[in-house]
């Protein structure tokens, strides 16, 4: 469809399944749920996704079966349209354009040609229930502008609206009152609960409402866990209500069964309660559903219920309260501590899942494969309770080993820390706990890495901690004549001037270990555990650290908190280049030497792909996301692609996936070749043209090679030794001045490009302190041009560049 190759961001998975109530088809064979911009159709028996209904251009906010034709489905979206689908074939039948944002959708069998929707018209937080008349027309797109107002000042959530007794009335709840609108009489009755500040009524707020299908009875859920059953509400004075109280916390959702004989309720206890005959005595429970029940729905045939949970799953439950199927999406209701990892065996994405679990998520099928219980303790859901968190995890030795770290910190001094090492068992095809280490460090573990060299015969793990030590753990033979066993023990403990260890990383061949201690990077020999050398840039704490791979294995990259990206050459032990880039995520590609870095600015996140050997990036993509990107990972492709364009070759063997902070709107994306024309493509396509014009300039301004300071040994020595190791300034002065005299002579012979305004040699000589030096390099980033790049450009290009420099710099500020 698209001739030229372009790269775009595709939202690829992990979409929410629990945003709205799921809807059953009339025969209970299918279940529908909204999922971002799509509607997903699942089979209730096999749990498989049957269709994905594409078409909406914004978040889908409501779905309902067409009451007149049970093979059709209405959906509404924030893009202001109501669409009618044939869900069996997955075809869009009709689009009704309403024109304002629709927040929920309701259908009533009696009102044949109209549906109800929640809209907000004037102010952003005032919502109205309106009836939308759907005109009968044969065309595909129909304007439906005929809105008639029903109720005002209602809650945005569709849980707070319920149509009762075959559409005779509609009940809406908000804060402390319940309003009932009678369609025939066109009157509204309003019932208010006391909202006094005293303890008894403080949490009287309504949370949800449900109407009895046949009788005049309204059930309402409250913040304090009570359920009230309202009757006789035709009369403003004589109305009555009864209370049902089991939930200890807020009632999240209510639903009547089809016949109305029982009422279902759920909350954060993750227990589904069935109240039979609406009495307090007669109740049945289905406990241990795993997470807070957010929505409950009932199939029209009456044989199935379903509950949507906060951990992004839908459980289908039989009438006799037996769970029959679980549709599980990517769990993301908690913050992700472990980052994104790829299981080398299954190629599944691995990250924090349910509390205390690691989830293995297949990116190909957009489906959770399984959960690995790491913490193995009963999860108590209570507000304000400090839970054990799974903070770090790492795979090693081609997926044979998994290391996990869990911690719980109640007070400053009371830290519980546990490291677990899991071995993959081929027989059971799963991970089995091998070693449990209590308090591996005195303080939080900041980084964890395995030595993944192919030739290494002994698995090695390194942990870095805030207590100032890094520890090397090795697998030792624990077997005696009675049993064969292996276990992990500590082999070496290293530290550097009691600084906090912040990161650790093994080189590709496993011969070197880099550990960063706040601002200082130390390189250790992995055989003798001797300190080989240190790098210090005085540019803030090291946030990310990684070695180059393959041809670039002599380089070490470090990103600091002050927004400097440094590249050191391990052969010369000198800084190769640095660049001003506020790196949030830095990920090496396992299949090539490329490294992806995502920088964060006030506008959004930008992606840079580069090789450590060259300071100019291979590829830049601006604005991949508006929010902060939290984690990223390269995923190897099963079948390599062949992009001809040089800028996209980095995607040949791997894809890049990333996860943004607010996981609600933009969950998981991948950069990939574009297939259909979509709005994304248009935006990016335009952006690309714009970008091409400025490509050269961008490169040079973003990343500038350092002047070749290694030509002057005294200066480089001065610059590359940490300040605290240096002797006094008086001692160094004469040596330093001498070196300058010498260097002047050598420099004079050297070619200096004429159009470099600021001579970099001069800078490097002038700088007598590292901080000073770096600041000046940053200046060059903005104004000067790197030597090497100049050499590669022809004269005509240089001229053009000079023009550019004069013309436009405003966009830099926008980055």
């Amino acid at each position: 469809m698209v001739d030229e190759e372009t790269i775009r961001v595709v939202r690829c998975g992990g979409s929410e399944l629990n945003f709205r109530r799921a809807v059953f088809s009339a025969d209970s064979k299918y279940i529908f749920c909204v999922s971002g911009d799509f509607v997903k159709v699942y089979s209730t028996v096999t749990e498989e996704c049957v269709h994905i209904l594409h078409g909406h251009r914004n978040l889908v906010t409501g779905i309902q079966l067409n009451p007149n034709n049970h093979l059709q489905l209405y959906s509404c979206s924030l893009d202001g349209t109501i669409k009618l689908w044939d869900y069996i074939d997955g075809i869009l039948i009709k689009t009704f354009i309403v024109g304002c944002k629709l927040h929920a959708l309701f259908t009533v069998a009696q009102a044949e040609d109209s549906v109800f929707a929640i809209v907000n018209k004037e102010k952003p937080d005032i919502f109205q229930l309106v009836s939308v008349k759907l005109p009968k027309s044969s065309s595909q797109e129909v304007e439906a502008k005929e809105l008639s107002f029903v109720l005002d000042y209602i809650n945005q959530s569709p849980k707070c609206i319920a149509f009762g007794n075959e559409g005779v009335y509609v009940a809406a709840v908000r804060e402390f009152y319940l309003s009932v609108y009678f369609f025939k009489k066109k009157t509204t009755s309003r019932f208010t609960l006391s909202s006094s500040r005293n303890k008894k009524h403080a949490k009287n707020n309504f949370t949800c409402v449900a109407c009895h299908p046949t009788e005049d009875c309204i059930a309402s859920g409250h913040m304090d866990g009570k359920i009230r059953l309202w009757r006789n509400f035709y009369d403003d004075k004589k109305y009555t209500y009864t209370c049902l109280h089991w939930h200890h916390d807020m009632v999240m959702d209510l639903a009547f069964s089809v016949t109305g004989t029982s009422l279902l309720s759920g909350g954060c206890e993750s227990v589904l309660v069935e109240w039979r005959d609406a009495t307090e005595k007669n109740k049945e429970f289905l406990p241990r559903l795993g997470a807070t029940i957010e929505h409950i729905s009932v199939s029209p045939a009456g044989d199935l219920f379903c509950t949507s949970h906060s951990d992004n799953k839908i459980i289908i439950i039989h009438r006799n309260l037996e769970a029959s199927a679980v549709i599980q999406g990517l769990v993301k209701d908690r913050s992700i501590f472990t980052g994104l990892m790829i299981d080398p065996r299954t190629k599944a994405l691995v990250l924090n899942g349910k509390p205390g679990h690691l989830q293995f998520y297949s990116l190909q099928s957009d489906k959770q494969l399984y959960n690995l219980d790491i913490i193995q303790q009963e999860y108590i859901n209570d507000y304000g309770l400090i839970q054990i968190e799974l903070t770090k995890a790492a795979f090693g030795c081609f997926g044979n080993w998994l290391a996990t770290v869990e911690q719980r910190q109640e007070k400053e001094t009371e830290l519980e820390l546990q490291m677990k090492l899991w071995m993959y068992n081929k027989k059971t095809q799963g991970f089995i706990l091998n070693t449990k280490i209590n308090m591996p460090h005195e303080d939080c573990i900041t980084a964890l890495c395995f030595c993944n060299a192919e030739k290494s015969e002994q698995p090695t793990l390194v942990t870095a901690s805030k207590d100032g030590y890094f520890k090397v753990w090795i697998l030792t033979d624990d077997s005696d004549i009675y049993k064969k066993a292996v276990g992990w023990t500590c082999d070496f403990v290293g530290s550097y001037h009691k600084y906090q260890a912040t990161n650790c990383c093994f080189s590709e061949d496993g011969s070197l270990l880099a550990v960063s201690f706040e601002e200082i990077v130390t390189i250790w020999d992995s055989v003798t555990w001797e300190l080989k050398c240190t790098f210090c840039q005085r540019a803030g704490k090291i946030r990310h650290l990684c070695f180059g791979r393959l041809t670039c294995s002599k380089y070490l990259l470090g990103a600091t908190e002050n927004g400097i990206l440094c590249c050191w050459n391990l052969l010369s032990c000198a800084l190769e280049w640095n660049a001003k880039l506020n790196v949030r995520v830095m990920e090496p590609d396992p299949n090539s030497e490329n490294i992806a870095a995502i920088s964060q600015s006030s506008v959004g996140s930008d992606l840079f792909v580069f090789k450590p050997s060259e300071p100019r990036p291979l590829y830049i993509q601006k604005g991949i996301s508006r929010e902060e990107v939290q984690w990223g990972v390269f995923v190897p492709r099963d079948v390599p692609e062949s992009f001809t364009s040089e800028a996209y070759q980095w995607l040949n063997r791997s894809q890049f996936y990333f996860l943004t902070k607010s996981q609600v709107t933009a969950p998981l994306k991948k950069a990939e070749e574009s297939l259909p024309t979509t709005p994304f493509y248009f935006i990016l396509g335009k952006h690309r043209q714009h970008q091409d014009e400025k490509l050269n300039e961008t490169l040079e301004n973003e990343l500038v090679q350092l002047p070749l300071t290694e030509n002057i040994p005294a200066v480089s020595e001065l610059l590359h030794t940490p300040a605290h190791v240096l002797p006094s300034a008086a001692f160094l002065c004469s040596m330093f001045v001498n070196s300058l005299l010498l260097s002047k002579e050598t420099k004079s012979a050297k070619e200096i490009p004429e159009d470099v305004d600021m001579e970099e040699e001069k800078e490097s000589e002038d700088s007598d302190e590292e901080n000073d030096f770096i600041e000046k390099v940053q200046d060059t980033n903005n104004t000067g041009l790197g030597e090497d790049i100049i050499h590669q450009l022809s004269k005509s290009e240089e001229k053009e560049l000079r023009k550019f420099r004069k013309i436009d710099y405003s966009w830099i500020a926008a980055l």
Binding site: P287, R288, L289, G290, A323, Q376, Q377, E378, I380, D382, G384, L385, I386, I388, R408, E410, E414, E416, N438, M439, K471, D480, I481, Y482, C490, F492, V493, G494, S495, Y496, H497, W529, E530, L531, V725
Partner: protein
């Protein structure tokens, strides 16, 4: 849906010797005999394979036994015979002596058949093959072990042990030869022409004697370092070791390992008998339900119209877990504070306290206790508070108790006595000070030993000392 997950009980590694089937087997001897053969030193011990009686040779009576055996005339030529053994056909005897000779005697004629003069030093040990009547081996102080064949008049094989050989042993199959000398025990493969199979160095001093267990699965070696070590003959790893009061010179095992005899330099012959494995059937077992009650309903074959409803198997939960499952926190705590639990398995009690703390209900569980109940808690705390493995959890619990019960202090003498733990505190503080001193000394040693490089390579000094623990008294 996942069921209740039981509380994870923290396990601690058991220090000291691991209990294996070998330790159980070899520890199952009782000491009942301590013989002293008239001041003589027992240098040789062996069990006759026929009559199960013990022959022990001491320095004094060596010649007597030889006299009895041979009644020969030329005994004057004997210079301290140190080894004799019957060959496989029982008609000949091999002897090795300090005159460097190895001789083969014919018993019926009391005549010397063959003399080998190949050794260049004292011959101190020998052993005849159990399979071939013509083969026997001797070990000598000239560091060699030689195998002789009565048919050839010369040695057929010679292996270099490296130290004066004190003892040799042939495996029942005859394929492997074990020699002991110096600190080494070496195993040689005879079928490969005397190739060294394995060299064991597990003793601190000279190994003096060797012995095989009756099954052939274990090899025993006794040494001057007062230890007998038991090796597995498959992996040649030490599986057990005995300690004796004095240096060991001789060692023997009776048939079926019933008795172990060790002769020592202090003249004592230690004889240990295996304890009889009395079947403990003293307590009549309570009558269990019949087998049919267990399989009731389980062997029912599904008929055509039946609907099978599977019920998940009920997981066994400990009593405290059952209480915790139903949020009966005080009851769960009471259960684990029971003396039977606190004495035998304090780690369970601590784990439950930790779990209650994790659930945020420890204060609730500890509150509202009467004098007797609170003294249970306090006794447990006082006993285990100073143990580093329990300290972090118990200090927290102690603080909570102090917070709760401080207003009512002084009302009960029993509780007040428990609270007054100033002595424990002082002891703990002294202990900590001592530890810190040691640590300082170790640091100084490390500092002097550190290499001159500017690296701060710090070997792991296990400074897992708990903080000073104090209970306000």
């Amino acid at each position: 849906m996942a069921g209740y997950k039981p509380v994870a009980i923290q396990t601690y590694p058991i220090l000291g010797e691991k209990i294996t089937q070998d330790t159980l087997y070899w520890n199952n001897y009782k000491v009942n005999v301590g013989d002293n053969e008239g001041g003589g030193i027992c240098v040789y011990a062996n069990f006759s394979s026929i009559c199960y009686t013990l022959y022990a040779l001491t320095e004094n009576c060596t010649r007597k036994i030889i006299f009895l055996l041979f009644k020969c005339t030329d005994l004057r030529s004997f210079r301290a015979v140190h080894t004799v053994d019957f060959t496989a056909d029982k008609y000949h005897v091999v002897s090795g002596a300090d005159d460097y000779t190895v001789k083969l005697w014919d018993i019926p004629n009391s005549k010397e058949i063959l003399t080998f003069k190949e050794h260049s030093d004292y011959v101190r040990c020998g052993c005849a093959s159990k399979l071939n009547p013509d083969l026997f081996i001797t070990g000598s102080y000239d560091h060699t072990v030689k195998m002789f064949d009565a048919r050839t008049n010369t040695s057929v094989l010679s292996v270099e042990h490296g130290q004066p050989v004190e003892s040799v042993l042939l495996f029942p199959s005859g394929g492997l030869l074990v020699s002991a000398g110096g600190r080494y025990v070496k195993v040689w493969d005879m079928l490969k022409g005397g190739q060294l199979l394995v060299s064991l160095k597990n003793h601190h001093k000279t190994v003096t004697c060797l012995c095989l267990s009756s099954s052939g699965q274990r090899l025993l070696s006794g040494s001057l370092d007062r230890k007998v070590k038991v090796y597995s003959t498959t992996s040649y790893k030490v599986v057990h070791s005995f300690d004796y009061a004095a240096s060991i010179l001789s060692l023997a095992l009776a048939h079926e390992d019933e008795t172990i005899v060790v002769g020592m330099t202090n003249g004592i012959l230690s004889v240990k008998h295996r304890k009889s494995e009395a079947k403990k059937e003293s307590i009549p077992r309570r009558r269990r339900p019949a087998y049919r009650t267990f399989i009731k309903g389980k062997n029912y074959m599904k008929q055509r119209d039946d609907i099978l409803i599977n019920r998940p198997a009920k997981k066994h939960l400990e009593l405290y877990d059952r209480d915790l499952k139903h949020f009966r926190i005080s009851k769960a705590l009471d259960r684990v504070l029971d003396p039977t639990c606190t004495i035998k398995t304090p780690e369970i009690t601590v784990s439950i306290i930790k779990e209650l703390n994790r659930r945020g209900v420890l204060a609730n569980a500890l509150a509202g206790r009467d004098e007797k109940e609170i003294s249970h808690v306090l006794n447990f705390l006082i006993r285990h508070l100073s143990q580093p493995r329990f300290a972090p959890v118990l200090i927290n619990a102690a603080e909570i108790i102090i917070d709760i019960y401080l207003p009512v202090i002084g009302q009960s003498p029993v509780v007040d006595k428990s609270f007054a733990t100033s002595r424990t505190c002082r002891k703990e503080i002294d202990y900590q000070r001592e530890l810190l001193e040691t640590l300082g000394m170790m640091d100084m040693l490390f500092a002097t030993m550190r290499r001159k490089e500017g690296t701060s390579v710090l070997e792991h000094t296990s400074d897992g000392f708990p903080e000073n623990k104090k209970i306000e008294s």
